[in-house]
Symmetry: C3
């Protein structure tokens, strides 16, 4: 048996059965080169505002900002300081990037069979032309290879944007963001389409440290003095209008749960006033978020911005890591979630409104078949986002197709979001989705459940059409 | 590549691997023509009491009563009025059935890869002899083809009963139903076996609008004046006796949760009296349902009717649709459910009793492996119903086999229920089950986990034997 | 079609696709003969302390102690008395073992497609050389065949230990156990490695009947008079030290939930004192268990014993069976569980501590991808145990690989535990795991997600390396 030919082979991620694999390949061939739509993600707009932007060292590009990678090493007892992750207190972190790279390469086997491993291998191969698998012995040579590419003009973000064939890329930006980088992109005359997305979390989460400063920023940036809930709403609406003017097509809100409820004017004013004086309780915060979900839906009905909602992540679960290193260090852990009861008030108010498009994302896969697919298969306002975060993987995508599509119907989903800060991983992520989509559709085809015409239409929808229409791109 | 040959091919729904597919086909060949047992469903008994019953137009048959179909169109922004769904207030709904059919055909692509699409295609082909896939262009011609069939004598329900090879069909009938249509079937001398099923929900759900009227009907139809809980129980028992006399083999209760608990006599009388005077609370209703689960189990022990329990559907989630169009409009959304704790009181009281057979149905698939299979694999009274509603599909059935069978054992399940109001879809639904069953058993066979003798026995059990014995047919 | 060749074939449990099957076989060939590590299980140490130990009749060996088997028969209406299960009140149970065996053989078809059926078939074939499938007709002959083997010297536990190629076997022993059998094994000079495991449940569950007697035993066996919480902790620590001295590598705690919380000294003393006087409430018991999880973690940090935690089983769900026959009669039913919130206090205190290794086991598979994999993929202290109990099966293992590995990474799991009291089933159980592992890895390989080098390394890790290092064997 020669097992070697399979690794990263042209038919990778397809089922091994030759009938299905051939069908998948034929379907994939027609969609693999479609332009990439990136309607939700976390790439820094600075990459595109500065024509001379450089990515720094391989470690600055690939390790330090990637919590998928360093969480796995941390789980195996490697300290974040050893990986160059900066400490909040300014304490010592490793500064020798070759040493960090070597440590990573020595432990690269930890990523066997993981999506992080797949993306990384694909990125090394397709983006950097590295043909060997990374290991302790070739670490230095591969570092050099990447490093020399990174300093070439072809590795400017704008050049890669063309090379990756990205049609539109949406960033995620705080409600209080000046969008100066988006303005600079526009002013530069460069032709790439970069759109902001309105993220209200910083001004909605009244129990977060720093909320009051965010409110001060909100006042400053909107020119509306936020002194009560009414002025707060005015300021939020004014920021949405500005984002829309700057090309935004959507908002994106994160919440621990999908709890929605309209509070009375008096209740919400009382909570807001407690928040302003630093006296809001945990319950106040949950109620306020529930009310703001209703308000965000109302505003979307009014201004036409697509509403995205990501729920179910218990942020900063590891308090010691949060204190030492801050947010987004791989310690956000999903919790069980409910939509059927929680979203009922919001859907009763806005779910039948043709002016609302609400895209739901979740980390609790048990809700796929039980709640999300039935909701999307009924309410005109509801659409389902692709599998999120941990589930944006070959298995995760397969489970999503399996559990969502029969009940929701493909056309109540919205195609793919790469949802990444790792700009260079974008083609690899879309490729996993397109291959997984082609393989799923091929499975339906070779089981006689659809015909060839349907199959091609479904693949095109998954790869391009659904995202285009869901996000009004 | 020619993909055309797969669509609706003889080996449809089987795994594409040739070894498994051939084994599945060989197993399926032996069961595909077994008579159909339909122990739980919602076909109107009127179809059989009136020998001249006609189905109306293709739209009256296939669109207006089918919430699987119109919910998907509604989710895409088509108004229910445009589809001819009658409004409760008598307001305008589309009356031109060709126009409705055209609208449906234009959007038939929405059903790609869904069970509704599969059933519909199969029904068109096998029942109506339509060989093309429905689309906007052939809509009118296919309408004519169906319409002309529907007016032929072969399309009388009794003739189809023979053609479909149905051995027994059980309907679902309110506790207060006179069963006049069942009486008429008996009186007619026609040989088909149609049995009623006792559904107590209308007289159990004390918080439902119309409960008091149901109680008045119960008094009238039973001849027992329901003035307190004792007379209520007497009346319910008398109706069960009447249903049994009319051929019923089972009861069927729906409940939001599986909560069971025996209340004291004083408590239940107090709740019942509050209900009679219109003062029952939501908590009263939940407690009363919990108590009535105990009572229904007790009665089943006494009269031998099989007890069916369907839990976990949040009915009429979309309040605007409910107000405008009423029940069963595709807006029932599943919720998370628990059986282990909720059913413990009932099982402690009756779970070891050989006179009880309790068949459980659920929409929360997470309970399959975690709760339902272990309960069915231990308690002599407990059996598992087939996958319900959204999960009565190729994927849903596969997940059920995968998650239930290892722990419950095949012989603690009850075969198939088509659970449909759509009479003409019955053969297609049984065929999906039989093919899925043959494919699952073939998977065990080609993995060396069972032998050929076991395989044939298991397939026969799935297709026929289990339903026959579970429902005493 | 000849389906006969598949049953128990050399490629059993592998996917039928020839590419994947061949790859799986090639991988399996390299690991199938590795020594067995059994770091968690329930084999009686008496088997090894007494060199002349005999297993009794086939029924005493295979039926009476195996709740997997008799629960399935009970679910089909066979009384436990008919199967020779002893009653607590000393009442009559069947004593004719041939009659019991016949009853079992007549109903052996109930195990079609179940893991119990697979293990049983494999055990009969590999351990007893029985080549026919058990049925009513050959029951007697197979009984004789097993019986004669059982009386041969090759069927002494120590001889089988060699034959099975077991490297280490860990038992599970109450905190109050004298470990006399472990002492006797040591004293005997026999070379097999048998290690005890410290199980504190009897002294932790303050609401269990018999807790007070366990505390008295704890005082006696530790020589520390347990009069308050402080002396209780001292006694527990002294027992852990003794277990460690006797070769223990781990502790194992069972709990209904994963709730952890550190109580104040005053609170815990108050609860303990209520417990001593028989006045502890259900809430006290839950809080005490939550506190003791913290204490067990602290002790593990101090003494280096690996901490195992099994949660989510509602024990003795069937009260009538419990009263008549006692514990472990197949009536333990899983419940929904949570780890993200419940374990947060424990992980905040000890999750980053390199001296702790906490291995988690659960019966609620919904936590695999949602909670357990993300926790194990982040916290250095957390590792995931293999699928437990009902899920220790071909499908259960497949679901575990599918849902755990992408996020947790293989190296944050701990290989296999057979977790069995059925000594003779150990090789069959490990074989199911190794075959399932090889098949999963082959699936990654033929999908191009890993290369051959990775594949072999992953299989060796699954079969041997991970267990060896996780349990410090």
């Amino acid at each position: 048996m020669s097992m070697k030919q399979w690794h990263l082979s042209p038919g990778r991620f397809f089922d091994p059965d030759p009938t299905q694999r051939d069908a998948a390949m034929a379907l994939y061939e027609r969609i693999k080169d479609l332009p990439l739509l990136c309607p939700h993600g976390h790439v820094d707009p600075r990459l595109f505002s500065d024509p001379d932007y450089t990515f720094g060292s391989p470690v600055e590009l690939l390790i330090i900002p990637d919590h998928y990678i360093f969480r796995m090493l941390y789980a195996q007892g490697i300290q974040l300081e050893q990986l160059g992750i900066p400490r909040r207190d300014g304490g010592q972190s490793e500064g020798d990037h070759r040493k960090i790279w070597q440590l990573f390469a020595d432990h690269f086997y930890l990523f066997q069979g993981t999506p992080t491993g797949s993306w990384f291998n694909e990125e090394l191969r397709s983006v950097f032309g590295v043909s060997e698998k990374l290991n302790g012995a070739n670490a230095d040579a591969i570092y050099d290879q990447i490093d020399s590419k990174l300093s070439s003009p072809a590795f400017k973000p704008r050049a890669l944007f063309e090379q990756f064939n990205i049609e539109t890329l949406c960033t995620t930006d705080a409600a209080t963001d000046s969008l100066e980088h988006h303005q600079a992109v526009r002013a530069s005359g460069w032709g790439g389409t970069i759109r902001p997305t309105f993220r209200p979390d910083g001004v909605v989460n009244i129990d977060a440290t720093g909320w009051k400063q965010e409110i001060d920023k909100l006042s400053a940036v909107s020119g509306i003095d936020v002194v009560d809930f009414a002025s707060y709403i005015q300021a939020v609406e004014s920021r949405r209008a500005f984002f829309k003017e700057m090309g935004a097509r959507a908002t994106d809100q994160g919440a621990l749960t999908a709890h929605s409820q309209r509070l009375s004017g008096a209740e919400v004013e009382a909570i807001f006033s407690r928040a302003l004086s630093g006296k809001a309780t945990v319950e106040d915060a949950a109620n306020f978020t529930g009310h703001m979900l209703m308000e965000m839906a109302r505003m979307s009905v009014e201004d036409g911005l697509v509403m995205q909602l990501h729920v179910g992540s218990y942020r900063n679960h590891n308090s010691a890591i949060f204190e030492k290193f801050g947010l987004d260090k791989g310690a956000d852990i999903p919790i069980r979630t409910d939509f059927t009861r929680s979203l009922q008030p919001l859907l009763a108010a806005y779910g039948n409104n043709p002016a609302l498009r609400l895209i739901l994302f979740n980390l609790d896969e048990t809700t796929y078949a039980r709640e999300l697919a039935p909701l999307a298969g009924h309410y005109p306002a509801v659409k389902l986002g692709p599998p999120w975060w941990f589930h944006d993987s070959v298995n995760g995508i397969r489970r999503y197709f399996d559990q969502v599509m029969e009940t929701a119907g493909l056309y109540n989903t919205v195609g793919f979001n790469d949802d990444t800060r790792a700009y260079l991983s974008i083609p690899a992520r879309h490729d996993v989705w397109r291959r997984s989509g082609a393989n799923w559709v091929a499975g339906l085809l070779v089981r006689g459940m659809i015909d060839e015409e349907d199959a091609h239409q479904m693949c095109a929808a998954l790869a391009y059409d659904l995202a285009k229409s869901a996000y009004n791109l």
